[in-house]
Symmetry: C2
Subunit: 137 residues, 2 copies
């Protein structure tokens, strides 16, 4: 996990990721939505692009000049649970953070992150432990 964390860099990366997951695509919008300044946003976006979490792609608004926009890649989308887990915890224990929810796109049903066994059974948080990857002797 260490290298993963080092790669992601500072926690503000997660703010950018959160907003990308919410649909923010343009530089200035990231500046506003994250509350970070331009230099920081630029640095975070670069890092996330270099990690393959965001893709910078040209984007043509009819009649206007071409722009670049930053969109979540599939790899990036797979990192969103980290943000959701953080928000779920924050909602419970840190009266702060703007209200943001995870919902199923097609139905608008709220979803939460839960532990699920291979057989599809939802497992309670208290029953989960972390173990070394090798089966326990």
């Amino acid at each position: 996990m260490r290298k993963t964390l080092d790669a992601l860099g500072p926690l503000s990366s997660l703010l950018v990721l959160r907003d990308a997951a919410e649909g923010t695509r343009r530089f200035d919008d990231f500046v506003v939505s994250t509350g970070l300044n331009e230099a920081t946003v630029a640095a975070r976006l670069k890092r996330l692009v270099s990690l393959g979490i965001l893709a910078k792609t040209p984007y043509a608004e009819a009649g206007k000049r071409t722009r670049d926009e930053y969109v979540l890649t599939e790899i990036g989308n797979e990192l969103v649970p980290v943000v959701v887990a953080l928000m779920q915890w924050g909602d419970q224990h840190r009266p702060d953070s703007g209200p943001m929810r995870a919902v199923e796109r097609s139905t608008d049903e709220p979803v939460t992150l839960r532990y699920v066994s291979d057989s599809g059974r939802v497992v309670s948080e208290q029953d989960v432990v972390l173990v070394e990857g090798r089966p326990i002797d």
Copy 2:
């Protein structure tokens, strides 16, 4: 989420949290398992205790002098999904990190974090979006 991130502090907090979730309880063991130095571990532990994520409790080994140990609180345990989400992503996309798995304590069955709807249906990652807390107009 911003305040939550600021409260947690640097990403190394998550290393300490990971190891606490794995069962590490003693100062020196945290130093070894996280790979951080003593000063850093001391700072992280203090912060996590002050956040109510870890509890520092006396601990008597028969015949030996009393020690303190750091154990996950319930609040701390609820933060573990952040670590698990990070590990899940790292396993897929960052060939690094020691192998660590989340398992159900009673059965040793591996579990993964998934999005689950209120009705208990597992929802695919690609179908989840983040929205503002207020219902969409």
